[in-house]
């Protein structure tokens, strides 16, 4: 970057920040934290600052389907308040059912306007699962099914970001027996670039970082097979956990509130799913980096893993029960010990019978 361009950007940025009552310091702090979240070198902060200062913002359409607005809550409580809000405001959210002032036909018209004027350039953020049973009638907005809206709005987008576990893999609505045939976004838009930000709710830091990445580089961040950005889902909770040393040492909480729990020992035996969950909770934390579930003393429930309602439970046991047994506590240990005991008993009985035949002399040659 030339000196001249640098100073132009600096000036534009100053004006921009000044007009919004944000100090340059807090803005650059925000950019640095984004660089850290994305696992990029500190020099990225300047690039991000420049990209944000340039006025090339894509409009955002935020769709809500079968959801609880939890991701919207997370979004509205963006950490690093002033600076992040600035970026998110700056993104021009043209349609968001929970926060937009417009309603009814006005709102639909605003959305249509974005679709027409920014075809192929706007970003769609989807919150909530999409029901597909009975033609998708379980969720309709303005007379259109969620399936139709997603095809129409998502189909013309530059990129789709699925936020929360519902939008990424169906979430609680898709849990067994999934009465509405709920699915995640990628299943209905297989040919679109879809970024999945699972979590219940998604962590707004990861949404902001994904958007900053897009603004800065013009591309979406690298993802794993499940479409989750590697910067946020590339490592296990267990491997970055602050209680990990207690795990390695063999120091475990045995009961809620026991001595180990009060000393912050590992929650493995309380059913923590950290060893099976990929997310950056231990590093970015929640609520402005204040805390996160394991720090607060509760095990991870694996909320960002696909189909976690069906696959990660029970919350307070190490492993799920053995499928196919019609009793509530068919743990692997009980069924396994039963199998071992049955084998021992069976062969013991056989052994007694065998010994008797040997004694009776029938077996002599």
């Amino acid at each position: 970057m030339t000196k001249e361009k640098e100073s132009t950007i600096a000036t534009a940025l100053e004006e921009y920040l000044e007009g919004r009552g944000v100090s340059r310091r807090s803005f650059l702090t925000f950019c640095s934290s984004m660089a850290a979240t994305l696992a990029l070198p500190a020099s990225f902060a300047d690039k991000a600052a420049a990209a944000i200062a340039e006025d090339n913002r894509p409009p955002i359409i935020w769709l809500e389907f079968q959801d609880c607005a939890g991701d919207t809550e997370s979004f509205l409580r963006a950490s690093r308040p002033t600076a992040a809000e600035l970026v998110l405001d700056y993104l021009s959210v043209d349609y968001h059912e929970t926060i937009m002032a417009a309603a009814g036909h006005q709102a639909e018209a605003a959305r249509q306007k974005t679709l027409d004027e920014w075809a192929g350039k706007y970003i769609v953020i989807v919150e909530g699962s999409i029901p597909t049973a009975q033609g998708g009638i379980h969720c309709t907005i303005a007379g259109h099914t969620a399936m139709d809206i997603l095809q129409k709005v998502g189909g013309g987008a530059a990129a789709v970001i699925a936020v929360g576990t519902c939008a990424t893999s169906g979430g609680i609505a898709a849990a067994h027996p999934n009465p509405t045939g709920a699915v995640g976004v990628k299943e209905l838009l297989p040919n679109k670039p879809v970024i999945n930000l699972p979590g219940c709710p998604m962590n707004v830091v990861n949404l902001t970082a994904t958007i900053v990445h897009y603004l800065t580089f013009g591309t979406l961040p690298t993802t794993d097979k499940l479409g989750r950005p590697l910067f946020a889902y590339g490592k296990r909770i267990h491997d970055n956990c602050e209680r990990r040393a207690h795990f390695d040492q063999g120091q475990y909480v045995e009961a809620w509130g026991d001595a180990g729990h009060r000393q912050g020992w590992c929650l493995y035996k309380m059913g923590c799913k950290g060893p099976a969950t990929f997310h950056n909770c231990p590093t970015v934390k929640w609520n402005d980096g204040q805390s996160w579930p394991v720090q607060a003393g509760h095990g991870c429930v694996g909320c960002s893993e696909p189909g976690f309602w069906d696959t990660m439970g029970p919350f307070y046991d190490r492993l799920p029960n053995v499928p196919g047994f019609d009793i509530t506590d068919a743990t692997a240990t009980k069924v396994g010990l039963g199998l071992t005991a049955a084998a021992a008993a069976g062969f013991a009985v056989h052994g007694v019978a065998k010994t008797m035949t040997l004694r009776s002399g029938d077996d002599e040659e």
Binding site: D224, Q249, A276
Partner: protein, 214 residues
């Protein structure tokens, strides 16, 4: 009856390394599933770390055992051969199978003459080797999760496309109990063959020789 060399040296060595590895895997694996030792407050206890390290070493040993035994099945003698594990594929094997079943259900007094594995045992060992391979693959898949972009995960990560993380763990843990049940069966069948049939089975896994007609 005369002494016949049945189990060659590599077969015997692999049998015992597999045995030791499985014992180590069960002892440490049970701890990893549910840490059962008293909590130590020593700063260098590293109990779980040690259990996981030993588990991993035993896992490597078992992997080498399974791969090595498979290789020996291709180059070893007839008693070690691959086809000895598939008695149900031949007419004689199937009739032996019926004979062994009759023997164990007291309907006949003699095992079908066979120096290697009897037909039923051969199937049990086939299942055991499949389960050992299953444990190796699922075990390394779980281990590889510490680095999803690493080589180990590229080799074994496909496991999680088939079953979710928790169910892979469940299957890996539950298979340990199948090993327990097999162990009881194995000792019992060895006892019968040795005491009732007097074919030298018990000693053969040390000496390599069994008694019978070649």
């Amino acid at each position: 009856m005369k002494a016949v060399k049945v189990w060659e040296f590599p077969v015997r060595v692999i049998h015992w390394t597999n045995f030791l590895a499985i014992v180590g895997l069960c002892v440490t694996g049970a701890y990893i599933h549910w840490p059962y030792l008293a909590t130590s407050l020593a700063l260098d206890a590293w109990t779980m770390n040690t259990a996981r390290f030993v588990h991993l070493i035993c896992g490597w040993t078992l992997m080498l055992g399974v791969v090595g035994r498979f290789a020996w099945a291709l180059i070893g003698n007839e008693y070690a051969s691959l086809k000895s594990f598939f008695p149900f594929l031949t007419v004689k094997g199937r009739s032996d199978l019926v004979g062994v079943a009759k023997y164990y259900s007291f309907m006949s007094k003699r095992l079908p003459p066979n120096l290697g594995h009897n037909a039923l045992a051969a199937i049990a060992y086939l299942v055991m080797f499949i389960l050992m391979a299953f444990q190796v693959v699922t075990g390394f898949a779980m281990w590889a999760q510490y680095d999803p972009s690493g080589t180990a995960f590229k080799l074994f990560g496909w496991v999680f496309d088939i079953a979710s993380n928790s169910y892979v763990r469940l299957a890996h843990y539950f298979t340990m109990f199948v090993f327990f049940a097999f162990f009881i069966n194995h000792i019992y069948a060895m006892w019968i063959a040795d005491i009732a049939e007097k074919d030298g089975t018990a000693g053969s896994m040390f000496s390599g020789y069994k008694y019978g007609e070649e």
